[in-house]
């Protein structure tokens, strides 16, 4: 037994480690669900640059996925032993901030540079607990190569154009659209519902207005059978398709012409050099389509951090446009700052155009307009609806109201 005792083991492994640097630096622990190899977000480089600029601070970085952030971090923040700086989003900020586990962040000059929508979102409570890092688009990936094969030259941005494109693609024997119940269909439904009822988002989220009575959402769900009719997808085949593995590989391999998804996939899709694609807005009743923006990540400082000064310097490092720009390029995201240069690549030109001409709709969960549990119910109910498009849209939507009512 002694052979494998931990001490013996560490001795065994000691040879593999280089001598630790003997510096007087303070160590700042940072966690994020970006920065691994799949989604680097330029974090390794940025951390290096930060350390070079701040020789007295050493960063200890841990990658913890978004799902595991919910599992692994609560014991730590509650156990008075939190990481100093944590990547968070608004649902987390709501829970942790309300419980007093996050330190207030000073509204420095950076705050005034934020877009008004973000200012309102993060300043809703008693204090600001998050410094936004990026805003990222959710739209429609379009394989231009396949569209051209079917004789279509322009990106469909309206529902009518979409139906027309689907018909031509079907005639050419091409699978038109990824439209899974777990993500793509919900994006389409949310974008179109909110586009038809722009001022209703908050009321729907609190239960002051009901989804099942909302013409905007009922009309939107009514378009599902029409899209299937037009040849966009085989609804029952799409319903249970996994949005995060199968669907992505299918689009990346060039087997589908369109797919509503997030811009964070752009980088991975570009690895396939044969794939001729653009990132476009979600087709809607409006000429420009809908640009659905997600505010998904920011930095928060733990209330119990031992190094509040160093943590503050780390967070402020990311408010400098030039620094943040590296992350935005890697993520293909937009700057949260009005004077910041966006990092989206040329393939997102159609989405940019829609943003410039038609404005954006914020994804209601990322700005806390809708309660987080509703997200899962929307995914479920959209799957159920796709399995049986004869269902009454009002009945499908009543499931959303039930969840809102439970909050």
């Amino acid at each position: 037994m002694k052979r494998f005792s931990p001490t013996a083991l560490s001795l065994l492994c000691a040879g593999a480690v280089l001598a630790a640097p003997v510096a007087q630096a303070v160590t700042l622990e940072v966690t994020a669900w970006k920065g691994n190899d799949a989604e680097p977000a330029a974090l390794p480089e940025l951390i290096e640059q930060f350390e070079a600029a701040n020789p007295d601070i050493e960063i200890k970085f841990s990658y913890i996925s978004r799902t595991d952030t919910d599992i692994v971090l609560p014991p730590r923040v509650q156990g008075d032993n939190p990481p100093d700086v944590m990547m968070t989003d608004m649902p987390l900020v709501k829970v942790w901030g309300d419980a007093g586990l996050l330190a207030p962040i000073d509204k420095g000059e950076w705050f005034d540079r934020l877009s008004p929508a973000l200012q309102n979102t993060i300043d809703a409570g008693d204090a600001v607990h998050i410094m936004p890092l990026e805003v990222i688009g959710m739209g429609n990936f379009v394989n231009m190569g396949l569209l051209k094969q079917a004789g279509i030259d322009s990106v469909p941005t309206t529902i009518d154009a979409l139906k027309d494109a689907c018909g031509k693609l079907e005639a050419a024997g091409i699978d038109a659209m990824v439209f899974n119940g777990g993500f793509s269909a919900p994006l389409y439904a949310i974008a179109n519902g909110l586009e038809r009822a722009p001022d209703q988002a908050a009321a729907l989220g609190t239960g002051d207005a009901l989804f099942e009575e909302s013409d905007a959402f009922i009309t939107t769900l009514d378009t599902f059978p029409e899209l299937e009719e037009a040849g966009c997808f085989d609804a029952s085949l799409q319903a249970g398709l996994d949005p995060w593995s199968t669907a992505l590989s299918e689009f990346k391999a060039g087997n589908f012409a369109m797919m509503p998804q997030g811009a964070w996939n752009i980088k991975s899709f570009m690895e396939n050099e044969d794939l001729d694609f653009v990132f476009a807005p979600i087709p809607s009743g409006k000429e420009t389509g809908v640009a659905l923006d997600l505010f998904g990540i920011g930095w928060s400082i733990a209330a119990k951090s031992d190094q509040p000064e160093a943590a503050k310097r780390f967070v402020e490092f990311f408010t400098v446009n030039d620094n943040l720009h590296q992350m935005l390029v890697s993520e293909s995201a937009y700057s949260p700052f009005t004077d910041g240069e966006s990092g989206v690549s040329d393939v997102a030109a159609p989405y940019n155009a829609s943003r410039d001409n038609g404005g954006t709709i914020m994804f209601p969960f990322s700005v806390l307009e809708w309660p987080k549990p509703l997200e899962m119910e929307i995914f479920d109910s959209m799957t159920g609806y796709l399995l049986d498009l004869d269902k009454d849209p009002a009945d499908v939507l009543s499931r959303w109201d039930e969840i809102v009512e439970d909050q």
Binding site: M1, F4, S5, P6, L9, S10, L12, C13, A16, V17, E29, W33, N36, D37, A38, E39, K60, S62, Y63, I64, S65, R66, T67, D68, I71, V72, P74, P75, R76, Q78, G79, D80, N81, W244, S245, L248, S249, E250, K252, A253, G254, N255, W264, N265, S268, E271, N272, D274
Partner: protein, 275 residues
Amino acid sequence: MKIKRRVGTWLLSAMALILVAFMLLPVVYMLLTSFKSGTEITQNPLGLPANLDFGNYINALSKMNYLRSVLNSIGITLSVTVLVSFIGALAAYPLARRTNRLARALVLLMALGLSTPNFVTITPIYVIFRDIGLLDTYTGLILAFTALNLPLAVFFYTSFIRSIPIELEEAARLDNCSDFRIFWHVIRPLLGPATATLSLFVMLMVWNDFTYPLLLLTDESKFTVMISVYRFVGNHNLSPNDLFPAAVLGSLPLLILFIFFQRRIVSGVTAGAVK
């Protein structure tokens, strides 16, 4: 007659191998896929890879802290296995041999442990370890895994010891041996097959879990191999040509360990039979 039986055995062996090979098809699928490029996977899902391209593997290896994390995993896994078998077998002995109320209550306690959903224990374990200063240590992680596997071990050994004829002990008892000496010299040597099987389960659980290492360790040099796999592939936007090579790399040391281990188990069992 003899020849007929031999042919029968031969046919049966062939059938067994075919059935087992059939069970292994998904593993083969994974291996084949791990050599393919992203486009090849969707265009030719079943065929052999066009060329034996180690690019996926080289990419995965270069980005995982592989060797170090494999060593960590092996050390942690073996320590836990040894601890769990010892504490578990020791506790199981009285539970298997006594039927009084205390024994029954303790069996129920073990059943309770076995039935507890893992997520119930996460926060308390963290708090306990923080308070006794075991965070970010190998000892802490080994202790946590030992605890999580202990109900299984007790349950397993209790059932096994019950099948050992009590007559074996009685001779020793007449010689006035203490309970511990009986356990150590009579019972323990017979536990070979049970320990072998149990070790497999424990090793698999410890090797493949990444919730607890993620919770308890912060020092990167202590990470286990599953954390390396997991950090490499993430859990959003999975691409099969990252996932499958990393998966193969993650499980390979365990498979080698198992094959090596199985030899020893089998020889142990045979030795016991000869005695």
